[in-house]
């Protein structure tokens, strides 16, 4: 159950110190930022043997910087910082804005962090699904060096990200904005403030003649990890967008059986994902004007 084994709560002041602690207490330490998943972990007995919590609030990872290779978002940047930054109102990044805004509630958005939401590796969280939609990369550092991976490769099963115990995710890098490209995110919930039953993220790029150049489609809470539906691009590439085309794609997706979850059956998810997909594409088209 709860944190019975906890010996200390450590608040390092920089990344180097954090990495040393992670190596020293390998397997016995957990990183904590917003702390919104901690209770869930303890309920599922996933904190057994954890003796140290390392709070990374003060190690300087709270930033949103525009650089040559795209937007760098620090791991401890909160959802509300994303919502209140006008960068993400641009059509290219709009899916991230919608996803962060859809996280409930306001109190959670004040403390929940970008890095934490990825490292939880939960299929129904909105921000990671939007990051996968936007082809975001993540920087993971350890004393041995650093590596940059696509965000979608980090997802393992529930609560088991592909990040080793002595590594730290420091930032997420969003690609540079492209011309005639918009992204959109739609989620279906039972109540006003809720986790998604299923969600759809779409990034749509039109060519200069107005044909579909690229379309990336991601389904949240559909598989145990964010699911990229490749069939959409196979069908839609180099075609003009029309209601007929959207209807045809709706008939062809999804290409996998969704998982059952506690709030909805696989049968239901399979039906509603089509409608959410349509809404997401229409949303992206609306942004493109």
């Amino acid at each position: 159950m709860a944190l019975f084994d906890l010996k200390d709560y450590i608040k390092p002041n920089n990344i180097q110190e954090t990495l040393k602690l992670l190596t020293e207490f390998k397997g016995k330490a957990k990183i904590i930022a917003g702390g919104t998943v901690l209770h869930e972990l303890s309920e599922r007995n996933l904190l057994e043997g954890i003796e140290y919590l390392i709070d990374i609030e003060n190690i300087g990872l709270n930033y949103i910087n525009v650089e040559n290779d795209g937007i760098h978002i620090g791991a401890t940047t909160t959802f509300n910082q994303i919502v209140s930054n006008s960068l993400f109102l641009k059509p290219y990044y709009y899916a991230l804005y919608l996803a962060a805004k859809g996280v409930s509630s306001y109190q959670v958005r004040n403390v929940g962090t970008v890095g934490g939401s990825i490292c939880s590796s939960i299929p129904f969280l909105d921000v990671p699904n939007a990051l996968v939609t936007l082809d975001a990369k993540a920087k993971i550092v350890s004393l041995a060096g650093e590596r940059i991976v696509n965000v979608e490769e980090i997802f393992g099963g529930m609560f088991s990200p592909n990040i080793s115990d002595d590594e730290l995710l420091t930032e997420v890098i969003l690609p540079v904005e492209e011309e005639k490209t918009a992204s959109y995110y739609v989620k279906l919930t039972e109540r006003s403030y809720d986790y998604a039953i299923v969600s759809v993220g779409v990034k749509l790029k039109l060519s200069s003649e107005g044909k579909i150049d690229k379309i990336k489609t991601v389904f949240g809470n559909f598989q145990t990890t964010p699911f990229v539906e490749k069939k959409v691009e196979e069908i839609a590439k180099n075609k003009y967008i029309s209601d007929e085309l959207i209807n045809y794609i709706m008939q062809q997706i999804p290409s996998v059986e969704p998982i059952d979850s506690i709030n909805a059956s696989s049968w239901y998810k399979k039906k509603v994902i089509k409608v959410l997909f349509r809404d997401a594409v229409k949303g992206a088209l609306m942004l493109l004007g």
Partner: protein, 111 residues
């Protein structure tokens, strides 16, 4: 009414509970164990999902009550019966189960 504010509170509160039962609340089980023994998965209605509830008391004395008074606590709960009837009327199918989730309505429509 002995205390009009209290009566209003009872009716609004009872209706909210009735709506919650009709639309969201369900304990799910697997092999005798509850699957949703927490308030993330056991859905209660939220403030944002509630409509404005207007209470109108029709005062009918109860002869056996003290000074003819009648309890009002459970009256609002009847919302949980009104909703299945309304849904049934709207879609022309028998609604035999609560909570009435979107998934349940879709299943009814396709049955």
């Amino acid at each position: 009414m002995i205390n009009p504010k209290l009566v209003e509170g009872q009716i609004v509160g009872g209706s909210a509970m009735g709506l919650s039962i009709a639309l969201f609340e369900e304990l799910k089980w697997e092999k005798g164990y509850p699957l949703n023994a927490n308030f993330a998965d056991y859905k209660l209605i939220q403030q944002a999902d509630l409509p404005e509830i207007i209470s109108i008391a029709t005062e009918t004395p109860m002869p056996h009550g003290p000074y003819g008074a009648r309890g009002v606590g459970e009256a609002g709960l009847l919302a949980s019966d009104a909703i299945p009837n309304a849904v049934s009327n709207a879609i022309g199918k028998n609604v035999n189960k609560i909570p009435i989730t979107p998934e349940y309505i879709l299943r009814l429509l396709e049955s």
